[in-house]
Symmetry: C2
Subunit: 250 residues, 2 copies
Amino acid sequence: MAEFELANTINFLDHISLDCVIFGFHENDLKVLVLHYKSTKEYALPGGFMRFDESLEDAAKRVLQQRTGLDNIFLKQFKVFSDLERAKTNPAVQDLVAAGLDIDTAFFDKRFISVGFYALVEYTKVNPMPDELSDTCEWVSLSSSLKLMLDHNMIVEKALDVLRQQLNTQPIGYNLLPEKFTMPELQKLYETILGKKLDRRNFQRKILSYNILNKLEERRTGGAYKSPFLYEFNLENYQKALNNGLNSGW
Amino acid sequence: MAEFELANTINFLDHISLDCVIFGFHENDLKVLVLHYKSTKEYALPGGFMRFDESLEDAAKRVLQQRTGLDNIFLKQFKVFSDLERAKTNPAVQDLVAAGLDIDTAFFDKRFISVGFYALVEYTKVNPMPDELSDTCEWVSLSSSLKLMLDHNMIVEKALDVLRQQLNTQPIGYNLLPEKFTMPELQKLYETILGKKLDRRNFQRKILSYNILNKLEERRTGGAYKSPFLYEFNLENYQKALNNGLNSGW
DNA sequence: GCAAAAGTGTTTCAGCTACACCCATGG
DNA sequence: CCATGGGTGTAGCTGAAACACTTTTGC
């Protein structure tokens, strides 16, 4: 299926690509899905091209489905990357051709502008799948400082930046955490995205004051130390609260 | 110059266009620059295409320079519009051809995705100039509800939405107002963008508390009633304050 | 002198910050 | 029993909201 698509690049719009920064949260760590290209040392974000019969969002959904196995992923476009610098021929393409892959080099050699999407997924539900040009698809911690192809490191940086800015207006917690989660887990997520420590008690009071969480009877047992309570999002209240922004200025 | 460019659409990337929502503020009213196409009843946002030797931002600057006469305009891309709906052939193209304009219809008939930019300009400095397909280039009040071509009304709506969201993180006041302005003018700008009334005294206290304004000795004379003081932005402090956001949540 | 807009200050209340003690759990 | 993390409460401060009177100006 994917092979068929790539071999028939004539189905895609020229000059336009998309790259997905797929965020997952696991063991108190924010991670991103990254591909390793066959026969090269290059790592890259999952990406793709746009068909004539779909929107950019549809194309991104298609890519996300293929790399994670999931439908109905939360995703947002956040920036178009069009600097002349990025127009350079992708060095990985030559390596891939040398390795014998059937690639339409005339297509890949064109100048591309790329639309950046970020996606939020529940880590445990993802089944990472490489595409036809890569041999692995793996989670990489944001703190790993792995060097990515072309301007992909910048794309990740920018995505994280946007995530930070949209923390109060998009259902970010809801889409990154499993259905049931503990208060410390939610706090760690906020701290990771914001890049700073928060006071436990003040965080809890503030987030509870929004009335966007349901406290459950259950606790998370099995871990060490005192068992924390589980919470779930009250989606209706969450959405309402996000409409105004969780902290309204002016 | 512009004619030359359009006649040689071969210089542009296929499938990609850009549209600019150019905001100006005049007489306590937020306005947008709009073109009227020759020999049609269609109104449209100023837009253009992307050359192979420039980035999207460069292309947008080129369009802005041509429509306003200004360089160094503050602009931001805010969204790519790629719905299949908008792929329909632009109805204005047929009218323009019928009216005898030299248009590369094969180029225009392709499917386009359009990158939306918003730009902020100082109203009085703008010299609106139509492009080769239009006969007028005029300011239109946001409250006028003029029907625009294709999805351009939606693009304006979205731009205003983004403007609202970025009021605390981008130098919006600085770029829309003249160098010297009064407190009531600044407040009206905020009220217009936010779509709600603010308390005079609280607004003044809050905005002054950021230390982003210099109060001048001068007053605005000549108007009726009590002469208000003039202010200017303290650009250094403004930029610093915006980095954290004027109202920091979390 | 009157109508309309601009300058200015205080009180109140809510929300944020800072901070400390007890409890549960696994080892 | 101890180390570690989780649950919970309070006092003080800061910033936001609500609100009224005086001054200037043109007519």
